[in-house]
Protein backbone atom coordinates (compact mmCIF):
# COMPACT_ATOMS: atom_id res chain seq x y z
CA UNK A 1 0.00 0.00 0.00
CA UNK A 2 1.17 3.47 -0.83
CA UNK A 3 -0.30 6.86 0.05
CA UNK A 4 0.25 9.50 -2.59
CA UNK A 5 -0.37 13.13 -1.72
CA UNK A 6 -0.60 15.01 -5.02
CA UNK A 7 -0.16 18.76 -5.07
CA UNK A 8 -2.39 19.23 -2.04
CA UNK A 9 -3.31 22.64 -0.69
CA UNK A 10 -5.65 23.80 2.05
CA UNK A 11 -7.20 27.22 2.58
CA UNK A 12 -9.30 28.03 5.62
CA UNK A 13 -11.87 30.75 5.22
CA UNK A 14 -12.78 32.79 8.23
CA UNK A 15 -14.18 36.20 9.03
CA UNK A 16 -10.68 37.52 9.64
CA UNK A 17 -9.65 36.57 6.12
CA UNK A 18 -8.39 33.44 4.43
CA UNK A 19 -5.53 31.43 5.81
CA UNK A 20 -3.53 29.31 3.44
CA UNK A 21 -2.48 26.52 5.75
CA UNK A 22 -0.82 24.32 3.13
CA UNK A 23 0.35 24.72 -0.44
CA UNK A 24 1.87 22.42 -3.10
CA UNK A 25 2.32 19.40 -0.89
CA UNK A 26 3.68 16.42 -2.85
CA UNK A 27 4.59 13.44 -0.76
CA UNK A 28 4.42 9.66 -0.99
CA UNK A 29 4.29 7.39 2.00
CA UNK A 30 5.55 4.02 0.85
CA UNK A 31 4.63 0.57 2.07
CA UNK A 32 6.17 -0.03 5.50
CA UNK A 33 7.59 3.45 5.65
CA UNK A 34 7.76 5.62 8.73
CA UNK A 35 7.46 9.26 7.65
CA UNK A 36 7.77 12.03 10.22
CA UNK A 37 6.47 15.56 9.68
CA UNK A 38 8.25 18.31 11.57
CA UNK A 39 7.74 22.02 11.44
CA UNK A 40 7.04 25.03 13.61
CA UNK A 41 3.71 25.48 15.35
CA UNK A 42 0.90 26.40 12.98
CA UNK A 43 2.60 25.22 9.78
CA UNK A 44 -0.24 22.82 8.97
CA UNK A 45 0.98 19.47 10.30
CA UNK A 46 -2.34 18.54 11.93
CA UNK A 47 -4.20 19.80 8.88
CA UNK A 48 -2.25 17.54 6.55
CA UNK A 49 -2.78 14.59 8.86
CA UNK A 50 -6.53 15.23 8.97
CA UNK A 51 -6.70 15.30 5.20
CA UNK A 52 -4.79 12.03 4.86
CA UNK A 53 -7.12 10.56 7.48
CA UNK A 54 -10.17 11.56 5.46
CA UNK A 55 -11.50 13.98 8.07
CA UNK A 56 -10.97 17.15 6.05
CA UNK A 57 -11.06 17.80 2.32
CA UNK A 58 -8.16 19.49 0.57
CA UNK A 59 -9.00 22.68 -1.32
CA UNK A 60 -6.73 21.62 -4.14
CA UNK A 61 -4.97 18.45 -5.21
CA UNK A 62 -5.87 14.95 -4.09
CA UNK A 63 -4.79 12.10 -1.89
CA UNK A 64 -4.79 8.58 -3.31
CA UNK A 65 -4.16 5.24 -1.69
CA UNK A 66 -2.56 2.90 -4.20
CA UNK A 67 -1.66 -0.78 -4.36
CA UNK A 68 -4.36 -1.98 -1.97
CA UNK A 69 -4.52 -5.75 -1.54
CA UNK A 70 -8.30 -5.79 -1.18
CA UNK A 71 -10.90 -3.61 -2.87
CA UNK A 72 -11.99 -1.69 0.22
CA UNK A 73 -11.26 1.59 1.94
CA UNK A 74 -7.99 1.36 3.82
CA UNK A 75 -8.19 1.10 7.60
CA UNK A 76 -6.59 4.18 9.07
CA UNK A 77 -5.75 4.40 12.74
CA UNK A 78 -5.47 7.96 14.01
CA UNK A 79 -3.92 9.12 17.26
CA UNK A 80 -5.18 12.66 17.74
CA UNK A 81 -3.19 15.52 19.19
CA UNK A 82 -5.97 16.18 21.72
CA UNK A 83 -6.45 12.41 22.20
CA UNK A 84 -10.28 12.49 22.23
CA UNK A 85 -11.07 9.62 24.58
CA UNK A 86 -14.77 9.09 25.22
CA UNK A 87 -15.34 10.26 28.81
CA UNK A 88 -18.22 7.80 29.27
CA UNK A 89 -16.14 4.80 28.29
CA UNK A 90 -13.62 3.03 30.48
CA UNK A 91 -10.08 2.40 29.31
CA UNK A 92 -11.16 -1.03 28.12
CA UNK A 93 -14.22 0.25 26.30
CA UNK A 94 -12.29 3.08 24.68
CA UNK A 95 -9.76 0.68 23.21
CA UNK A 96 -12.61 -1.57 22.11
CA UNK A 97 -14.40 1.25 20.27
CA UNK A 98 -12.92 0.77 16.81
CA UNK A 99 -13.22 -3.02 17.01
CA UNK A 100 -16.97 -2.78 17.59
CA UNK A 101 -17.46 -1.68 14.00
CA UNK A 102 -15.48 -4.56 12.52
CA UNK A 103 -17.80 -7.56 12.97
CA UNK A 104 -15.22 -9.59 14.86
CA UNK A 105 -16.04 -12.51 17.14
CA UNK A 106 -16.38 -11.44 20.77
CA UNK A 107 -13.46 -13.63 21.80
CA UNK A 108 -11.21 -12.05 19.21
CA UNK A 109 -12.23 -8.55 20.33
CA UNK A 110 -11.39 -9.28 23.95
CA UNK A 111 -8.10 -10.89 23.01
CA UNK A 112 -7.05 -7.89 20.97
CA UNK A 113 -8.06 -5.35 23.60
CA UNK A 114 -6.16 -7.29 26.25
CA UNK A 115 -3.13 -7.51 23.99
CA UNK A 116 -3.00 -3.78 23.33
CA UNK A 117 -3.69 -2.84 26.94
CA UNK A 118 -0.64 -4.88 27.92
CA UNK A 119 1.35 -3.41 25.06
CA UNK A 120 0.89 0.14 26.36
CA UNK A 121 1.32 -0.99 29.95
CA UNK A 122 -2.14 -0.17 31.25
CA UNK A 123 -3.10 -3.55 32.68
CA UNK A 124 -5.03 -3.02 35.89
CA UNK A 125 -6.58 0.19 34.57
CA UNK A 126 -9.22 -1.47 32.38
CA UNK A 127 -12.20 -0.23 34.44
CA UNK A 128 -10.88 3.32 34.95
CA UNK A 129 -12.52 6.29 33.26
CA UNK A 130 -10.36 8.79 31.33
CA UNK A 131 -10.74 11.51 33.97
CA UNK A 132 -9.13 9.17 36.48
CA UNK A 133 -5.96 8.83 34.40
CA UNK A 134 -2.86 10.97 34.09
CA UNK A 135 -2.20 12.80 30.83
CA UNK A 136 0.39 10.28 29.75
CA UNK A 137 -1.87 7.33 30.50
CA UNK A 138 -4.61 8.92 28.42
CA UNK A 139 -2.25 9.23 25.49
CA UNK A 140 -1.36 5.57 25.79
CA UNK A 141 -5.05 4.66 25.67
CA UNK A 142 -5.36 6.74 22.51
CA UNK A 143 -2.41 4.91 20.96
CA UNK A 144 -3.77 1.49 21.92
CA UNK A 145 -7.17 2.41 20.51
CA UNK A 146 -5.67 3.31 17.13
CA UNK A 147 -3.41 0.26 17.00
CA UNK A 148 -6.14 -2.18 18.05
CA UNK A 149 -7.91 -2.02 14.70
CA UNK A 150 -4.63 -3.15 13.09
CA UNK A 151 -4.76 -0.40 10.49
CA UNK A 152 -3.16 -0.30 7.07
CA UNK A 153 -1.94 3.21 7.79
CA UNK A 154 -1.17 4.79 11.13
CA UNK A 155 -1.43 8.54 11.63
CA UNK A 156 -0.05 9.99 14.85
CA UNK A 157 -0.26 13.64 15.84
CA UNK A 158 2.25 14.41 18.58
CA UNK A 159 1.25 11.29 20.49
CA UNK A 160 3.91 11.70 23.18
CA UNK A 161 3.64 15.41 23.81
CA UNK A 162 1.91 14.98 27.18
CA UNK A 163 4.47 12.49 28.44
CA UNK A 164 7.32 13.27 30.77
CA UNK A 165 10.80 12.94 29.27
CA UNK A 166 11.41 9.49 30.75
CA UNK A 167 8.13 7.96 29.64
CA UNK A 168 8.63 9.60 26.30
CA UNK A 169 11.95 7.86 25.77
CA UNK A 170 10.44 4.54 26.81
CA UNK A 171 7.38 5.00 24.61
CA UNK A 172 9.56 5.91 21.64
CA UNK A 173 11.49 2.68 22.09
CA UNK A 174 8.19 0.86 22.53
CA UNK A 175 6.74 2.43 19.38
CA UNK A 176 9.79 1.38 17.40
CA UNK A 177 9.39 -2.15 18.71
CA UNK A 178 5.69 -2.24 17.82
CA UNK A 179 6.40 -0.69 14.48
CA UNK A 180 9.09 -3.23 13.75
CA UNK A 181 6.63 -6.06 14.42
CA UNK A 182 3.88 -4.63 12.23
CA UNK A 183 5.85 -2.51 9.77
CA UNK A 184 2.85 -0.22 9.45
CA UNK A 185 3.01 2.62 7.00
CA UNK A 186 3.07 5.56 9.38
CA UNK A 187 2.75 9.31 9.18
CA UNK A 188 3.91 10.82 12.42
CA UNK A 189 3.79 14.46 13.49
CA UNK A 190 6.10 15.95 16.06
CA UNK A 191 7.85 19.19 16.80
CA UNK A 192 10.59 17.37 18.63
CA UNK A 193 13.49 17.10 16.20
CA UNK A 194 15.37 14.38 18.07
CA UNK A 195 12.20 12.31 18.18
CA UNK A 196 11.80 12.75 14.43
CA UNK A 197 15.33 11.57 13.70
CA UNK A 198 14.99 8.74 16.21
CA UNK A 199 11.86 7.30 14.57
CA UNK A 200 11.85 8.24 10.92
CA UNK A 201 12.77 6.59 7.68
CA UNK A 202 12.24 10.00 6.14
CA UNK A 203 11.79 13.36 7.81
CA UNK A 204 9.61 15.90 6.03
CA UNK A 205 10.36 19.46 7.12
CA UNK A 206 7.53 21.92 6.61
CA UNK A 207 8.00 25.66 6.38
CA UNK A 208 5.49 28.15 7.58
CA UNK A 209 2.86 30.51 6.08
CA UNK A 210 1.94 28.96 3.83
CA UNK A 211 3.03 25.49 4.85
CA UNK A 212 5.25 24.03 2.16
CA UNK A 213 7.69 21.18 2.09
CA UNK A 214 11.04 22.79 2.79
CA UNK A 215 13.05 19.60 2.62
CA UNK A 216 12.77 15.84 2.79
CA UNK A 217 15.63 14.07 4.52
CA UNK A 218 16.17 10.31 4.36
CA UNK A 219 17.64 9.04 7.57
CA UNK A 220 20.44 6.66 6.76
CA UNK A 221 20.77 4.97 10.15
CA UNK A 222 19.84 1.53 11.48
CA UNK A 223 16.32 1.37 12.93
CA UNK A 224 17.48 0.75 16.51
CA UNK A 225 19.93 2.47 18.86
CA UNK A 226 20.26 5.51 16.69
CA UNK A 227 21.19 7.76 19.54
CA UNK A 228 23.86 5.40 20.86
CA UNK A 229 27.48 4.56 20.21
CA UNK A 230 28.78 5.00 16.70
CA UNK A 231 25.41 6.23 15.43
CA UNK A 232 25.39 9.19 17.73
CA UNK A 233 27.53 11.47 15.62
CA UNK A 234 25.37 11.03 12.53
CA UNK A 235 22.22 11.32 14.65
CA UNK A 236 23.34 14.67 15.99
CA UNK A 237 24.28 16.04 12.60
CA UNK A 238 20.79 15.10 11.28
CA UNK A 239 19.26 16.93 14.23
CA UNK A 240 21.35 19.97 13.49
CA UNK A 241 20.45 19.88 9.82
CA UNK A 242 16.72 19.90 10.60
CA UNK A 243 17.10 22.56 13.25
CA UNK A 244 18.85 24.88 10.82
CA UNK A 245 15.90 24.43 8.43
CA UNK A 246 13.30 25.18 11.08
CA UNK A 247 15.05 27.77 13.19
CA UNK A 248 14.03 30.93 11.37
CA UNK A 249 10.39 29.87 10.98
CA UNK A 250 10.15 28.84 14.60
CA UNK A 251 11.44 32.22 15.69
CA UNK A 252 8.92 33.98 13.43
CA UNK A 253 6.11 31.83 14.82
CA UNK A 254 7.10 32.79 18.34
CA UNK A 255 7.25 36.51 17.58
CA UNK A 256 3.90 36.40 15.82
CA UNK A 257 2.44 34.64 18.86
CA UNK A 258 3.71 37.51 21.03
CA UNK A 259 2.00 40.12 18.90
CA UNK A 260 -1.40 38.47 19.10
Amino acid sequence: MQVVIENVGKKFQSSRGDVTALENIDLTINEQEFVVLVGPSGCGKSTLLSMVGGLLSPTSGRIVVKDLIEDRDPLIGIVFQEIGLFPWRTVYENIKFGLEEMNLAAGEVNKRVDHFIRLVGLNGFEPAYPHQLSGGMRQRVGIARALAIQPDLLLMDEPFSALDAQSRTLMQEELLRIWYQTKLSTLYVTHNIAEAIYLADRVVVLSRRPGRIASIISIDLPKFDRDKGTNLFKFNSYCDQVWQLIRKDAQLALEEGDEQ
Binding site: G53, G54, L55, D73, L75, I76, G77, I78, F80, E82, G84, F86, P87, W88, R89, F97, G98, E100, E101, Y129, H131, I149
Partner: protein, 263 residues
Amino acid sequence: MSFQRQVQNQMAFMDHQPPTWISAAAITAILLLWEFSCRVGGISALFLPSPTAIVAAGYEMLQSGELLTNVAASLLRIGLGFITGSTVGILLGLILGFSSIADAVGNPIVHALYPVPKLALLPLIILWLGIGELSKVTIISLGVFFPVIINTYSGVKNIDPLLIKVAVSFKTSRTNIISKVILPGALPVIFAGLKLAAGTALLLLVAAEMIAAKEGIGAMILHYGDLMLTDKLMAGVVILSLLGLVFNRSLHWLERLVITWKQ
Protein backbone atom coordinates in the same frame (compact mmCIF):
# COMPACT_ATOMS: atom_id res chain seq x y z
CA MET B 1 11.75 41.18 63.44
CA SER B 2 10.17 38.44 61.30
CA PHE B 3 6.70 37.05 60.83
CA GLN B 4 5.32 33.65 60.17
CA ARG B 5 2.09 32.61 58.55
CA GLN B 6 0.81 29.16 57.79
CA VAL B 7 -0.49 28.72 54.25
CA GLN B 8 -4.25 28.22 54.34
CA ASN B 9 -6.32 26.47 51.70
CA GLN B 10 -8.26 29.36 50.16
CA MET B 11 -10.48 26.90 48.31
CA ALA B 12 -11.78 25.31 51.50
CA PHE B 13 -15.12 27.14 51.32
CA MET B 14 -15.90 25.25 48.11
CA ASP B 15 -15.96 21.86 49.80
CA HIS B 16 -17.53 23.00 53.02
CA GLN B 17 -20.31 20.49 53.80
CA PRO B 18 -23.10 21.61 56.14
CA PRO B 19 -24.15 18.90 58.63
CA THR B 20 -26.91 16.66 57.25
CA TRP B 21 -29.31 17.33 60.13
CA ILE B 22 -29.54 21.00 59.25
CA SER B 23 -32.26 20.67 56.58
CA ALA B 24 -34.38 18.41 58.81
CA ALA B 25 -33.99 20.89 61.66
CA ALA B 26 -35.09 23.80 59.49
CA ILE B 27 -38.23 22.00 58.32
CA THR B 28 -39.10 20.94 61.86
CA ALA B 29 -38.71 24.50 63.06
CA ILE B 30 -41.05 25.82 60.37
CA LEU B 31 -43.65 23.12 61.12
CA LEU B 32 -43.46 23.88 64.86
CA LEU B 33 -43.88 27.59 64.26
CA TRP B 34 -46.85 26.88 61.99
CA GLU B 35 -48.50 24.56 64.48
CA PHE B 36 -47.90 27.03 67.29
CA SER B 37 -49.39 29.99 65.41
CA CYS B 38 -52.50 27.94 64.55
CA ARG B 39 -53.08 26.83 68.13
CA VAL B 40 -52.14 29.95 70.03
CA GLY B 41 -52.17 32.68 67.40
CA GLY B 42 -55.85 32.21 66.69
CA ILE B 43 -55.52 31.65 62.93
CA SER B 44 -58.84 30.26 61.75
CA ALA B 45 -58.67 26.60 60.69
CA LEU B 46 -60.64 27.55 57.61
CA PHE B 47 -57.85 29.79 56.35
CA LEU B 48 -54.86 27.79 57.44
CA PRO B 49 -55.25 24.42 59.16
CA SER B 50 -52.41 23.31 61.41
CA PRO B 51 -49.95 20.62 60.27
CA THR B 52 -51.44 18.07 62.65
CA ALA B 53 -54.96 18.79 61.34
CA ILE B 54 -53.70 18.26 57.79
CA VAL B 55 -52.08 14.97 58.73
CA ALA B 56 -55.29 13.85 60.46
CA ALA B 57 -57.37 14.78 57.41
CA GLY B 58 -54.91 12.97 55.17
CA TYR B 59 -55.10 9.86 57.34
CA GLU B 60 -58.87 9.90 57.17
CA MET B 61 -58.75 10.20 53.35
CA LEU B 62 -56.30 7.33 53.21
CA GLN B 63 -58.63 5.14 55.28
CA SER B 64 -61.63 5.90 53.10
CA GLY B 65 -59.58 4.91 50.06
CA GLU B 66 -60.21 8.13 48.15
CA LEU B 67 -56.59 9.23 48.46
CA LEU B 68 -55.34 6.10 46.77
CA THR B 69 -57.77 6.22 43.83
CA ASN B 70 -57.03 9.88 43.19
CA VAL B 71 -53.27 9.50 43.49
CA ALA B 72 -53.35 6.40 41.27
CA ALA B 73 -55.33 8.26 38.60
CA SER B 74 -52.87 11.17 38.67
CA LEU B 75 -49.80 8.96 38.68
CA LEU B 76 -51.01 7.09 35.62
CA ARG B 77 -51.59 10.32 33.71
CA ILE B 78 -48.34 11.97 34.65
CA GLY B 79 -46.39 8.75 34.15
CA LEU B 80 -47.74 8.14 30.67
CA GLY B 81 -47.47 11.79 29.71
CA PHE B 82 -43.93 12.12 30.99
CA ILE B 83 -42.67 8.97 29.32
CA THR B 84 -44.19 9.71 25.90
CA GLY B 85 -43.27 13.38 26.00
CA SER B 86 -39.67 12.77 27.02
CA THR B 87 -39.12 9.83 24.66
CA VAL B 88 -40.35 11.78 21.66
CA GLY B 89 -38.46 14.87 22.85
CA ILE B 90 -35.15 13.02 23.19
CA LEU B 91 -35.51 11.26 19.83
CA LEU B 92 -36.47 14.38 17.90
CA GLY B 93 -33.87 16.43 19.76
CA LEU B 94 -31.15 13.99 18.71
CA ILE B 95 -32.32 14.06 15.09
CA LEU B 96 -32.63 17.85 15.04
CA GLY B 97 -29.16 18.22 16.53
CA PHE B 98 -27.55 15.70 14.20
CA SER B 99 -29.18 16.34 10.84
CA SER B 100 -28.86 19.79 9.39
CA ILE B 101 -31.95 19.30 7.20
CA ALA B 102 -34.08 18.29 10.17
CA ASP B 103 -32.61 21.24 12.03
CA ALA B 104 -33.56 23.70 9.29
CA VAL B 105 -37.10 22.38 9.13
CA GLY B 106 -37.77 21.61 12.78
CA ASN B 107 -35.96 24.31 14.70
CA PRO B 108 -38.22 27.26 13.74
CA ILE B 109 -41.32 25.15 14.39
CA VAL B 110 -40.14 24.10 17.83
CA HIS B 111 -39.20 27.62 18.81
CA ALA B 112 -42.49 29.04 17.50
CA LEU B 113 -44.54 26.58 19.54
CA TYR B 114 -42.41 26.55 22.65
CA PRO B 115 -43.57 29.90 24.10
CA VAL B 116 -47.28 29.04 23.76
CA PRO B 117 -48.58 28.17 27.25
CA LYS B 118 -49.62 24.55 26.78
CA LEU B 119 -52.69 25.04 28.96
CA ALA B 120 -54.09 27.36 26.29
CA LEU B 121 -54.22 24.36 24.00
CA LEU B 122 -56.29 22.25 26.39
CA PRO B 123 -59.70 23.30 25.01
CA LEU B 124 -58.53 22.48 21.52
CA ILE B 125 -57.07 19.16 22.60
CA ILE B 126 -60.31 18.26 24.40
CA LEU B 127 -62.17 19.11 21.22
CA TRP B 128 -59.92 16.82 19.22
CA LEU B 129 -59.42 13.94 21.63
CA GLY B 130 -62.47 14.11 23.89
CA ILE B 131 -62.56 14.77 27.60
CA GLY B 132 -61.12 11.35 28.52
CA GLU B 133 -57.64 10.32 29.66
CA LEU B 134 -56.05 10.82 26.26
CA SER B 135 -56.43 14.60 26.27
CA LYS B 136 -54.87 14.92 29.73
CA VAL B 137 -51.97 12.61 28.90
CA THR B 138 -51.45 14.53 25.66
CA ILE B 139 -51.29 17.94 27.31
CA ILE B 140 -48.76 16.65 29.84
CA SER B 141 -46.58 15.06 27.17
CA LEU B 142 -46.72 18.31 25.19
CA GLY B 143 -45.52 20.23 28.22
CA VAL B 144 -42.72 17.71 28.78
CA PHE B 145 -41.77 17.51 25.12
CA PHE B 146 -40.55 21.08 24.70
CA PRO B 147 -38.01 21.46 27.51
CA VAL B 148 -36.71 17.97 26.69
CA ILE B 149 -36.28 18.54 22.95
CA ILE B 150 -34.67 21.91 23.49
CA ASN B 151 -32.22 20.58 26.04
CA THR B 152 -31.43 17.48 24.01
CA TYR B 153 -30.76 19.68 21.00
CA SER B 154 -28.36 21.95 22.83
CA GLY B 155 -26.72 18.91 24.42
CA VAL B 156 -26.03 17.51 20.97
CA LYS B 157 -24.74 20.85 19.71
CA ASN B 158 -22.31 21.12 22.59
CA ILE B 159 -20.61 17.78 22.06
CA ASP B 160 -16.88 18.08 21.44
CA PRO B 161 -16.53 17.76 17.63
CA LEU B 162 -13.27 15.92 18.22
CA LEU B 163 -15.21 12.95 19.62
CA ILE B 164 -17.30 12.76 16.47
CA LYS B 165 -14.09 12.95 14.43
CA VAL B 166 -12.68 10.06 16.43
CA ALA B 167 -15.80 8.00 15.79
CA VAL B 168 -15.70 8.83 12.08
CA SER B 169 -12.04 7.86 11.92
CA PHE B 170 -13.07 4.37 13.07
CA LYS B 171 -15.67 4.19 10.30
CA THR B 172 -18.54 4.21 12.77
CA SER B 173 -21.96 4.16 11.11
CA ARG B 174 -24.26 7.17 11.42
CA THR B 175 -26.70 5.40 13.74
CA ASN B 176 -23.85 4.22 15.95
CA ILE B 177 -22.44 7.73 16.09
CA ILE B 178 -25.81 8.82 17.45
CA SER B 179 -26.10 6.01 19.97
CA LYS B 180 -22.45 5.76 21.03
CA VAL B 181 -21.24 9.34 20.89
CA ILE B 182 -24.05 11.85 20.63
CA LEU B 183 -26.50 10.32 23.07
CA PRO B 184 -24.03 9.73 25.91
CA GLY B 185 -22.44 13.11 25.27
CA ALA B 186 -25.80 14.85 25.52
CA LEU B 187 -27.11 12.86 28.50
CA PRO B 188 -26.13 15.31 31.25
CA VAL B 189 -27.98 18.12 29.49
CA ILE B 190 -30.91 15.82 28.68
CA PHE B 191 -31.29 15.05 32.37
CA ALA B 192 -31.34 18.74 33.21
CA GLY B 193 -34.21 19.01 30.70
CA LEU B 194 -36.06 16.07 32.25
CA LYS B 195 -35.89 17.66 35.69
CA LEU B 196 -37.20 20.92 34.28
CA ALA B 197 -39.97 19.00 32.53
CA ALA B 198 -40.99 17.24 35.75
CA GLY B 199 -42.16 20.57 37.18
CA THR B 200 -44.08 21.44 34.03
CA ALA B 201 -45.70 18.00 34.03
CA LEU B 202 -46.97 18.42 37.57
CA LEU B 203 -48.34 21.87 36.81
CA LEU B 204 -50.21 20.69 33.73
CA LEU B 205 -51.48 17.59 35.50
CA VAL B 206 -53.17 19.58 38.23
CA ALA B 207 -54.50 22.24 35.86
CA ALA B 208 -55.95 19.65 33.47
CA GLU B 209 -57.52 17.74 36.35
CA MET B 210 -59.10 20.87 37.73
CA ILE B 211 -60.58 21.71 34.35
CA ALA B 212 -61.68 18.33 33.14
CA ALA B 213 -61.58 15.36 35.51
CA LYS B 214 -63.60 13.59 38.16
CA GLU B 215 -60.64 11.78 39.65
CA GLY B 216 -57.11 12.87 40.38
CA ILE B 217 -55.32 15.04 42.89
CA GLY B 218 -56.24 18.24 41.05
CA ALA B 219 -59.93 17.37 40.94
CA MET B 220 -59.80 16.37 44.59
CA ILE B 221 -58.24 19.67 45.66
CA LEU B 222 -60.79 21.63 43.68
CA HIS B 223 -63.61 19.57 45.16
CA TYR B 224 -62.54 20.23 48.76
CA GLY B 225 -61.97 23.87 47.93
CA ASP B 226 -65.58 24.15 46.82
CA LEU B 227 -66.66 22.49 50.06
CA MET B 228 -64.36 24.79 52.08
CA LEU B 229 -62.74 21.76 53.69
CA THR B 230 -59.34 23.39 53.92
CA ASP B 231 -57.61 20.60 55.85
CA LYS B 232 -58.44 18.04 53.16
CA LEU B 233 -57.51 20.54 50.47
CA MET B 234 -54.15 21.06 52.17
CA ALA B 235 -53.64 17.31 52.43
CA GLY B 236 -53.92 17.26 48.63
CA VAL B 237 -51.38 20.05 48.33
CA VAL B 238 -48.97 18.18 50.58
CA ILE B 239 -49.37 15.07 48.41
CA LEU B 240 -48.50 17.18 45.36
CA SER B 241 -45.40 18.51 47.02
CA LEU B 242 -44.36 14.98 47.99
CA LEU B 243 -45.05 13.82 44.44
CA GLY B 244 -42.79 16.53 43.08
CA LEU B 245 -40.10 15.56 45.53
CA VAL B 246 -40.31 11.86 44.68
CA PHE B 247 -40.27 12.71 41.00
CA ASN B 248 -37.15 14.79 41.33
CA ARG B 249 -35.38 12.24 43.52
CA SER B 250 -36.17 9.41 41.11
CA LEU B 251 -34.76 11.38 38.20
CA HIS B 252 -31.69 12.16 40.26
CA TRP B 253 -31.30 8.48 41.08
CA LEU B 254 -31.76 7.50 37.45
CA GLU B 255 -29.20 10.08 36.41
CA ARG B 256 -26.59 8.66 38.75
CA LEU B 257 -27.41 5.18 37.52
CA VAL B 258 -26.99 6.11 33.87
CA ILE B 259 -24.18 8.65 34.06
CA THR B 260 -21.61 6.45 35.73
CA TRP B 261 -18.57 8.26 34.41
CA LYS B 262 -18.90 11.39 36.50
CA GLN B 263 -17.36 11.06 39.94
